[in-house]
Symmetry: C2
């Protein structure tokens, strides 16, 4: 087995998420990558993705791996070859040979997501595909203080979308920072893994604090309650970007 790891970036706007949805005809990132691999290698190649980003979510550092089989292309030529076949909203940033036991999903030790809010009285049409527009002024300092309360190993049941069975709802958040850069507020969160919609629900809950509707301690109360209905809304996908997967 020749195991190859790719780092991939995409504008997720027009895709129905990362994961292939067989038989639906809906475009997904995985499908486009596998199509390009098949065109280039002449083989059917199935790949494994690190994170199943949702419909409309972007990535700057998604990681996938696959068995190259009989495909004899030098690894360092894979990015250019694939980029010439991929749609313009997906790009392979790098390719590397990895040991046989490397698994994009199970070998990951940390993931970093950024949620971007455009916080100004009027929208910015040039940023609308990559930010969530919030016209009311947000207190990013309060959001930062509130976010810090989630750092550590906890049961994040309150921040998980319903209806998706998982073995455990315990995850570790290594860091959560909220910072303002001009009109853009970035929520950066790094953890060992995330439950379904977890980052978007955390962002929605921090928004309640930023708007002054809740005190920072509210985050701790929601976390302890383990009740989804006490947390904030699931904010829209276009603000979310998978920044990095660490191994």
């Amino acid at each position: 087995m020749r195991n190859i790891k790719l780092t991939v970036a995409y504008d997720g706007t027009r895709y129905h998420g990362f994961q292939e949805q067989r038989g639906t005809g809906l475009p997904t990132i995985q499908e486009e990558l596998e199509k390009a691999l098949q065109l280039l290698s002449g083989q059917v190649i199935r790949l494994i993705g690190a994170g199943r980003t949702d419909s409309g979510v972007h990535a700057r550092g998604q990681v996938v791996n696959f068995d190259a089989g009989d495909w004899r292309i030098p690894t360092d030529r894979i990015p250019l070859a694939m980029n010439s076949r991929l749609p313009v909203d997906i790009a392979v940033l790098s390719a590397r040979d990895v040991p046989e036991d490397f698994h994009a999903r199970f070998s990951a030790v940390a993931k970093t997501y950024i949620y971007s809010i455009y916080n100004s009285r009027v929208p910015d049409p040039l940023l609308r595909r990559f930010t969530y527009f919030v016209p009311r002024m947000l207190d990013h300092g309060a959001m930062d203080g509130a976010g810090a309360m989630l750092v550590g190993r906890h049961d994040f049941s309150a921040f998980k979308a319903e209806g998706t069975p998982v073995k455990s709802t315990v995850r570790t958040i290594y860091g959560l920072n909220v910072g303002r850069h001009g009109n853009i507020i970035k929520i950066t969160v790094r953890g060992d893994g995330f439950l379904y919609n977890m980052v978007r629900i955390i962002a929605g809950t921090l928004l309640e604090v930023g708007l002054g509707k809740q005190s920072p301690e509210y985050l701790l109360a929601v976390l302890k309650s383990k009740r989804r209905e006490l947390a904030g809304a699931t904010v829209p996908p276009q603000g979310l970007c998978l920044l990095e997967v660490e191994y």
Copy 2:
């Protein structure tokens, strides 16, 4: 006459430029703005734009003015009212009452454009709508030195697209800077006015220097020649953005 000035931002990707193209059915920025004004005011309002940005060109600070006629809306409410009617890729940033003799185009004393190049071995799918991707490494220092040679009052015939009659091809460039921010090279140019495709041809000519195909002095030779065929290519529209119009 109640003369109102608007500052407008847009993602020009899906538009056939700023200027209304009557009878063609092609979407333009001007048409969308006039449609929103008509919906809100109940009157037919014609507006004047400061710069006729081309198909696919963006703006963060386009300026327009119009006679509000009998429309009685308070000026400060215009942005919110218009933004609720405009497509998501156009936004009114501000509205102000201006003297009767204010004319968005003729009263302008300076305009600033930015041309953005994404300069990295692999493309960035999240920036593709707003940058021109150049995979070969560019010497932005040489480009900056070359650009400085165009500053001043000159006949810019060599940097003007053919087939568009104008009274004079003399313009003044107040400043031209080329700087790198990570993988993005920004060409910022401020002048009293620009000929058709002038900024994109200047960028294409600077690219020759950045690629090492020409020395910085090439810019001066092209300028003096007044011959379009000696300048570089007209680079694609998506890298161009009208940043500011000064009065």
